[in-house]
């Protein structure tokens, strides 16, 4: 494993985007950032800026209004990047799957690398998902 891959795995910067989730998963994501779970141990930092981010964490289902914003954010992230969907709504549409305004899962709009199911997904599962995405960066090297 080269030094670049090692650095990529050791330093994932997150961008968190809420596509219209009930805030359950968002609260779990923020819980992972509190001193109790302290993800900065693994170099994970919540950036709030797509141009600095390596990993896009999305919660909630895609709909006609937010798909433009979602793909815009995705395009602003420089490669290599990974997309992680947190929660059942983002994975498949969840309880909103047959609403007239909802497109379905996030993968209808942008390519998704890791799905983390759960309503709401637990912080441990979110950390596991980020690790899985990083392993895929390590395996592909890009």
């Amino acid at each position: 494993m080269g030094i670049m891959n090692r650095a990529r795995i050791k330093s994932p910067w997150l961008l968190h985007f809420d596509c219209g989730s009930c805030n359950g998963c968002d609260i779990e994501i923020l819980a992972a950032l509190t001193p109790f779970y302290d993800v900065e141990r693994f170099g994970i930092v919540n950036m709030g800026n797509p141009k600095h981010a390596d990993v896009l964490l999305v919660t909630g289902p895609a709909n006609h209004r937010n798909q433009r914003v979602l793909s815009n954010l995705y395009e602003q992230m420089p490669e290599p990047r990974r997309v992680i969907v947190v929660g059942t709504c983002g994975c498949t549409g969840g309880v909103f799957h047959n609403c007239p305004n909802v497109l379905g899962g996030i993968d209808r709009v942008i390519p998704v690398d890791v799905y983390i199911p759960g309503c709401a997904a637990r912080p441990e599962a979110i950390i596991d998902g980020v690790v899985l995405a990083l392993e895929s960066i390590g395996a592909h090297g890009k």
Binding site: I3, E40, R41, G43, G48
Partner: protein, 289 residues
């Protein structure tokens, strides 16, 4: 001093400064985490971050901003070389200022409102700390008869006992150089603050890494200037301890204070910083220090 020796010294400074700066930044992040009841990242985390950033695909909002990223790093490195070669303190400070000015110029060259606002606040930060750094050279020059670093090192006794007021003023300036609370109005470097990065919002990947490297050089340089206060005489190694103690005080203040508005920052910097230096100059003239 022959040419080979000069080139060697300059090379060592250019290689060692980012290593020391990145390592200090790692300790900074770990200490900050401990003060907040967290474990904190590994000590090598800043190096991982910068290496990763160099490996990202370049993405720019405008060609101009990349020029300013290179200029910031280049001019800051030049200032570090000036210090290593014991050149003129005033010249060094002006090169450092020119380098720092590249950041707001780069930020103002793109249209993003975050970047624009960050650039304007960065200019206000300069207005606060640059007079302190520049005026701090005056009492030093009064003590050692000249602005060159060689003169300071060849001065028989340490400067700190006579210039401790200037030293405190420089500590205030260092907190502003490092963009630490309560003087972090221009960066708001942590996520979900109002500027999401301020001047660096529109920089990404390798260009962000260049700026981060520049910050490490900048921090090491200002800490070295702090160290100059005990660099002369036989106990020169105390200068390292004094610089690190000053740095620790800034970390502590960063973790226990909230952000000042730009007007309060300016008032504090000009009142306390310039006031202390002016008092020091007066006391030197009266022969009391």
């Amino acid at each position: 001093m022959n040419t080979g020796w000069l080139i060697g010294t300059a090379l060592i400074a250019v290689i060692a400064a980012p290593l020391i700066g990145g390592w200090l930044k790692g300790i900074d992040r770990r200490l900050t985490a401990r003060m907040q009841g967290r474990w904190g990242p590994p000590l090598l985390q800043p190096f991982y971050d910068v290496i990763k950033l160099f490996g990202k695909n370049p993405m720019v909002a405008g060609r101009t901003q990349t020029v300013f990223a290179y200029a910031f790093l280049g001019l800051t490195v030049t200032a570090v070389v000036f210090f290593a070669l014991r050149q003129d303190l005033l010249m060094l400070l002006f090169i450092l200022f020119f380098g720092s000015l590249c950041l707001p110029l780069g930020a103002l060259s793109v249209k993003s409102p975050y970047s624009q606002l960050g650039g304007h606040r960065e200019l206000l930060r300069f207005l606060a700390y640059e007079p302190i750094l520049l005026l701090a050279a005056v009492p030093i020059a009064l003590k050692v008869d000249g602005f060159s670093i060689t003169a300071i090192l060849e001065h028989g006794e340490p400067l700190l006992p006579g210039l401790w007021l200037t030293f405190i003023a420089l500590l205030i300036a260092l907190a502003m150089v490092m963009r630490k609370s309560p003087f972090d109005v221009s960066s708001s470097e942590h996520a979900h603050q109002e500027l999401v990065g301020g001047v660096v919002t529109e920089y990404s990947g390798p260009y962000l890494a260049l700026i981060e490297l520049g910050h490490w050089y900048e921090m090491v340089l200002v800490l070295s200037v702090l160290g100059l206060f005990w660099a002369a005489g036989s106990l020169w190694w105390l200068s390292i301890i004094i610089a690190l103690l000053g740095w620790l005080v800034i970390l502590l203040v960063d973790n226990i204070s909230a952000r000042l508005t730009w007007s309060s920052m300016l008032r504090f910097a000009w009142g306390a910083g310039i006031g202390l230096i002016a008092l020091n100059i007066v006391l030197i003239h009266l022969g009391w220090m």
